[in-house]
């Protein structure tokens, strides 16, 4: 069996197994014992998926531009859609990020007591959906997976969320559905423009390299915008971001980890996969506007994060800021910026996932996330505090940790970009780097340091083994990504250059040295 297909559908198969098992064992088992079995089973499935996905990595040829490990089988022939999956430099790391984060998210969900079976079921379906998005090489298939992810996430927030979960879930749903329906329309339009025979992304991208000139420019703009809106909402780009803080605050910890870690990346991935290669002229034309929004997002997200009283909301707004960097990099069109953007997606997945995990750990102990409620936590929880500190440092872009590489490449790539005002965007974007230190260190100081002011905090227990198992891989990954970025960058190099070349058509060459 093809390894891509196996990785993608293993969680779904696992979900079926889980259901079957619950039908068989569920009748006589004790609820508590059963719940634990569901947890372990899900952990097993997600871990297995991760291990299988490592096979993708070993088989991946980083010198090849085209998609690899491809399966193409006819599906609905009358529509011209096929089951076409594979990976290339753009998707390979995002697939691994997904499979890497899932078992850790399951570990972070250990304290979920309500309807454990359904919860785990949704997690597994979600994983297949997310993986499907990254491996699809067919627009129809892509769209299908893109939408599928909505449903489990909607329920994860709406059922297992906090007090205002219904509001948050609906807001999340509406925002994203509005965007993705527009995208559907655009996909259909592109299908017809390409001759009405195929949804194949590879084929269409190739054809569009020359054929797109036949499409009137205003229509190209419209199509570009339909895709872009869907992805901007997903990212989310300022000012389309207000669903995110609500969704994060209400979502259970694992929901937040996956949301920030993977789901948002579907937006930035989509921009690199569709908008840039399909409509390079429109992308270039729109770049200064998009970058303006991105820079506003960077600074705005950071400033609003700074004044949040709720830790989770703080981290949520920091995501708005960090994803602003990614969008900035994508629309700078230089190799450094695009590579940086891809890297920042991964880095953000790791460090923000870890931040949410840390916040979740304190929440599990105190059932509050209000910064005011804490202070001096480092005294009862030294190990946790060390981890929280490292994770925060990685998020604020300290060199030798993962966040730095992406941000730096994005900024230097943006600075040397030929997009109008690019230098100014890089400079203003750079302010986000100062501000991230402000909001994160300020939070740490109020939560971890100082005297223990509240009695409830004096006796907090430090991390248990399960929490360590969940958090330490993330911290280790943050270090590896900061020290040895070439391990990752070389894998995406070819694919990123292809995107760059596609979008650099007719563009003056960026200043060579001297």
């Amino acid at each position: 069996m093809n390894i891509i297909t196996l990785t993608t559908f293993l969680p779904l198969i696992g979900a079926l197994v889980l259901v079957l098992y619950s039908v068989v064992a569920g009748r006589e088992g004790e609820p508590n014992k059963l719940n634990n079995q569901y947890r372990y089973l899900t952990l097993l499935i997600t871990t297995a998926t991760f291990l299988v996905s490592l096979g993708i990595l070993t088989g991946f040829d980083r010198n090849q531009v085209a998609a690899q490990m491809v399966v193409k089988a006819p599906w609905i022939t009358s529509l011209g859609t096929s089951y076409h999956v594979g990976i290339d430099g753009l998707s390979v790391w995002l697939v691994l990020l997904t499979t890497f984060l899932m078992p850790l998210s399951v570990l972070a969900s250990w304290h979920v007591e309500k309807r454990v079976r359904e919860y785990m079921l949704f997690m597994l379906v979600l994983e297949t959906g997310m993986l499907g998005v990254f491996v699809s090489l067919d627009m129809f298939l892509f769209y299908l997976f893109f939408e599928i992810t909505l449903i489990p996430m909607y329920f994860l927030i709406g059922v297992w969320g906090g007090e205002r979960r219904i509001y948050a879930a609906i807001k999340f749903f509406i925002y994203t559905v509005v965007g993705s329906l527009l995208m559907l329309a655009a996909i259909i339009a592109i299908y017809y423009y390409n001759g009405g025979t195929t949804f194949d992304i590879v084929e269409i991208t190739q054809n569009f390299a020359t054929k797109r000139t036949a499409i009137p420019f205003p229509v190209q703009r419209m199509l570009w915008f339909a895709f872009a809106l869907a992805f901007f909402i997903k990212v989310p780009l300022w000012p389309l971001h207000t669903w995110l803080p609500d969704a994060h605050v209400e979502a259970p910890t694992a929901g937040s980890i996956i949301l920030a870690g993977v789901l948002l990346k579907m937006g930035t991935y989509g921009l690199m996969r569709f908008n840039l290669p399909l409509f390079p002229e429109v992308s270039r034309e729109a770049a200064p506007f998009v970058m303006t929004l991105a820079v506003i997002g960077i600074v705005y997200g950071a400033l609003v994060a700074m004044v949040q009283p709720d830790m989770k909301k703080l981290v949520a707004y920091s995501s708005v800021s960090h994803l602003g960097f990614v969008v900035l990099g994508i629309f700078a069109f230089t190799e450094q910026a695009l590579q940086g953007a891809l890297y920042q997606m991964l880095a953000h997945g790791i460090s923000t996932g870890a931040l949410f995990m840390c916040v979740g750990m304190i929440y599990d102990r105190r059932h509050t996330r209000m910064i005011d409620e804490f202070g001096g936590v480092a005294t009862p929880m030294p190990q946790f505090s060390t981890m929280f500190l490292i994770v925060s440092l990685s998020s604020l872009g300290l060199p030798l940790l993962n966040g730095f590489i992406g941000e730096f490449l994005i900024l230097i790539g943006t600075f040397s970009s030929d997009v109008p005002y690019a230098k100014a965007f890089a400079v203003f974007g750079g302010l986000g780097v100062i501000l991230s230190a402000v909001y994160l260190l300020w939070m740490l100081q109020r939560v971890l340091f100082g005297d223990v002011t509240k009695r409830e905090n004096a006796e907090l227990e430090d991390m248990e083994w399960r929490e360590k198992v969940a958090l330490i891989p993330l911290v280790a990954m943050a270090l590896v990504m900061g020290i040895a970025p070439m391990l990752f960058l070389r894998g995406s190099e070819k694919a990123v250059n292809k995107v760059k070349e596609a979008v650099q058509i007719n563009a003056p060459k960026v200043a060579e040295h001297r």
Partner: protein, 711 residues
């Protein structure tokens, strides 16, 4: 080999960080000191190797691994040892080792002992990476890394709020500087395609490329001036210059050995290092040079005046450090980079000595830091008194002590500065000259209040434990205070603490003889300014009206793999005497004047404070010119208020969300009207969405078919 200089302390940090909690204090201290010892030994060996090379080929490079390579951008973990970095690693590891040894005594009994040494070793790794880096980005790794260690060590006493505040302030202020540094780096990459100090992949170093550029006109700001000022902006953060100096005095909340190592001897001089390293760019812009010189001189006198009015012994030394750093930048600004580096070195000796001495005093006084509550200590702690006095005279510029030579060189080079607008050199000299007097005066005040006069610690002493406001090193419980001493009696510190003091005192006395200025040297019989001779290949010189003449030299230097800056410096006979710029008799006369003002400062200090030690100082000085308050009210508070009330609660909640919710409500009301909503909110939304989607898709489909027919 070079990488091991940096890695040895990292290994020490890892061992202590991971296992230190389970090891006993002696082992932790041994690991920490040993790892720095290894690093120091390697540094001296490599330095010897460097010296054995011919003067114009003193470059050792080493590639560790490729860190980032994307397109034309490349930054490696690769090291460069040349005279500039060579000198730096010597005093970093040398002074660092002494301070590590001292700290094993000073931190004795502290519950976070292993944590302290983990951070301190990590700091050594970062600092050595900073100076050995062969490119601007790896330098930046060290740059931010030392900032992190500074953050961790300032906030070392995690339970104390002011320590946490100071740590955060230090980090954030430095980040502001780092922002400037980053933009400078971007500009360098865009302009030259390289951020490396050596040639890589056939691309010459940006320094070589800069060397062939013409000098920009005064008062114009070209590429070179822009880059120089942006990098200098980074330096103002790390090296505590106006306007970003505010963090350094607060940083004294950290344990005293930290103040000595990080906030006096090494880290804070990183900005001077950066400026000297990039001297090839700086000398191309008289505008940038003027700005650097003016900021340096302004910082020097500004901080010195604040230093007059501080009562916390460490704060006096902190402002003194800011002031001395100002001297170093003044030197860089007038093109006397070598004099600046020389002062970095001598300052490392005497300021580390003074800080460690102050730590010994604080230790002996059972955590008292207020000099108003001291007095007469010379009886109780003889070694500390004698060694600190040497530091006092060295910083005051007493003839033939280390600080005398380096400060004198800076003053002379300022007086004869060519790059600055006409007359500015002399004006800045006057400022620096006055500062020298102030320095002697406030140091005398500090020494007098501490060691001379009547003992002011007797009665009030019982209450000292409860007294807040000052940053006490609170690690001392009862572990040492009662080693046979009456609780209130000051005592001399143990040998592990006094020995480093003695060694640093020796260095403070003799350390200056490596850089005796020429005019003076002729009198005392030292005819060679060793340090100038040695450093010249690493440093570029300012040449007025030069138009790319150095290009050929630059290319030649590059072919040797040399760090390129050398261009003209190496090509000329190294002894090209400074006398060309002014005559020896003027130089000697100025030297005489600066000796005089030092002595006057000391004399006045003694005269005034022996009469009445406690005097009221102008409150504007005591309050540090209200700079903190100014930043608070003009930047920090408005930013916070705007973020909270405008961006978040208005734009986010009212405008954007208001719009979104309004639309949703409108749609749902419409749906109500159409009786689609009987089954609840979610379904009605979904239904409306579906309808809308169908409409949109339908529109597109129709339109597309229409267009297709049209084509």
């Amino acid at each position: 080999m070079l990488k091991w200089i940096t890695l040895a302390p990292l290994i020490g940090a890892l061992i202590n960080g991971l296992f230190g909690k389970r090891l006993n204090e002696k082992v932790v201290g041994l690991i920490a000191c040993l790892s720095v010892g290894v690093s120091a030994a390697l540094s001296f060996m490599q330095f010897g190797k460097l010296l054995s090379l011919p003067a114009d080929q003193r470059v050792i490079t080493e590639h560790f691994f490729t860190w980032i390579q994307v397109g034309a951008f490349r930054a490696d973990f690769a090291y460069l040892l040349d005279p500039l970095s060579g000198l730096y690693i010597l005093f970093i590891t040398g002074v660092g080792l002494l301070i590590h040894i001292y700290a094993t005594g000073y931190m004795h009994g502290d519950p976070g002992y292993y944590r302290f040494f983990t951070y301190l070793n990590l700091f050594m790794f970062m600092m050595l990476t900073l100076v050995l880096a062969d490119n601007l980005l790896l330098l930046f790794v060290g740059w931010e890394g030392v900032g992190l260690c500074s953050y961790l060590l300032i906030g070392y006493y995690i339970k104390r709020k002011e320590a946490g505040d100071a740590a955060k302030k230090a980090f954030v202020t430095n980040r502001v500087g780092d922002f400037s540094y980053s933009i400078g780096m971007f500009l360098i990459f865009t302009a030259f395609g390289s951020i490396s100090f050596v040639a890589k992949d056939g691309v010459p170093s940006f320094l070589t490329q800069a060397a062939s550029r013409p000098v920009e006109a005064l008062w114009s700001l070209g590429l070179m001036g822009g880059i120089a000022l942006l990098l200098f902006g980074g330096a103002t953060g790390k090296s505590a210059q106006i306007p970003l100096f505010v963090w350094l005095p607060d940083a004294m909340a950290g344990p005293t050995p930290v103040s000595a190592l990080i906030h006096a001897a090494t880290m804070v001089t990183a900005g001077v290092y950066l400026t000297a390293r990039c001297s090839a760019i700086v000398v191309k812009s008289p505008t940038a040079m003027t700005v650097i010189a003016v900021i340096g001189a302004a910082t020097a006198i500004f901080a010195a005046t604040i230093g007059l009015a501080q009562n916390d012994i460490k704060k006096v030394l902190a402002y003194s450090t800011v002031s001395q750093l100002g001297y170093m930048f003044l030197a860089c600004g007038v093109g006397a980079f070598i004099a600046g580096i020389f002062h970095v070195m001598t300052h490392a000796f005497f300021k580390a000595l003074l800080f460690l001495g102050s730590g010994s005093v604080i230790h002996g006084m059972h955590e008292e830091q207020d000099i108003r509550k001291m007095g007469g200590l010379r009886k109780y702690m003889k070694i500390t008194f004698v060694t600190m006095s040497i530091g006092w005279f060295a910083i005051a510029g007493f003839p033939l002590l280390s600080g005398f030579f380096s400060k004198d060189e800076i003053l002379w080079k300022t007086f004869t500065a060519e790059a600055l607008p006409h007359g500015w050199g002399k004006a800045l000299w006057a400022v620096a000259f006055l500062t020298a007097g102030l320095t002697a005066f406030y140091m005398t005040r500090m020494m007098w209040l501490t060691f001379f006069g009547e003992e002011r610690f007797g009665k009030g002493h019982d209450a000292h434990h409860g007294h807040g406001g000052h940053g006490h090193d609170d690690h001392h419980g009862d572990h040492h205070g009662d080693k046979g001493h009456g609780h209130g009696t000051p005592h001399e510190s143990p040998l592990v603490m006094t020995l480093p003091l003695i060694l640093l005192a020796v260095l403070s006395i003799f350390g200056g003889f490596v850089g005796v200025p020429h005019a003076l040297g002729n009198i005392i019989g030292i005819h060679e300014n060793k340090i100038e001779h040695f450093l010249q290949p690493s440093i570029a010189e300012f040449h007025a009206g030069e138009h790319g003449a150095a290009a050929a030299h630059g290319a030649a230097a590059e072919s040797h793999g040399a760090p390129a800056v050398a261009a003209e410096g190496a090509a000329k006979p190294a002894a090209a005497p400074a006398e060309a710029h002014g005559d020896a008799s003027t130089e000697l006369a100025l030297t005489g004047l600066s000796v005089l003002i030092g002595l006057v400062g000391i004399g006045l200090g003694v005269l005034i404070y022996s009469k009445k030690p406690i005097r009221h100082m102008p409150s504007v000085l005591e309050n540090k010119y209200y700079v903190d308050e100014l930043y608070e009210t003009t930047i920090i508070n408005p930013l916070e208020e705007t973020s909270r009330h405008v961006l978040w609660k208005f734009v986010d909640v009212k405008v954007i969300d208001g719009f979104v919710n309004g639309v949703a409500r409108g749609v749902s009301e419409l749906a109500n009207l159409l009786r689609y909503s009987q089954t609840g909110l979610a379904r009605s939304y979904a239904a409306v969405i579906l309808l809308g989607a169908i409409a949109v898709i339908g529109y597109f489909v129709v339109k597309i078919f229409g267009i297709q027919i049209g084509i």
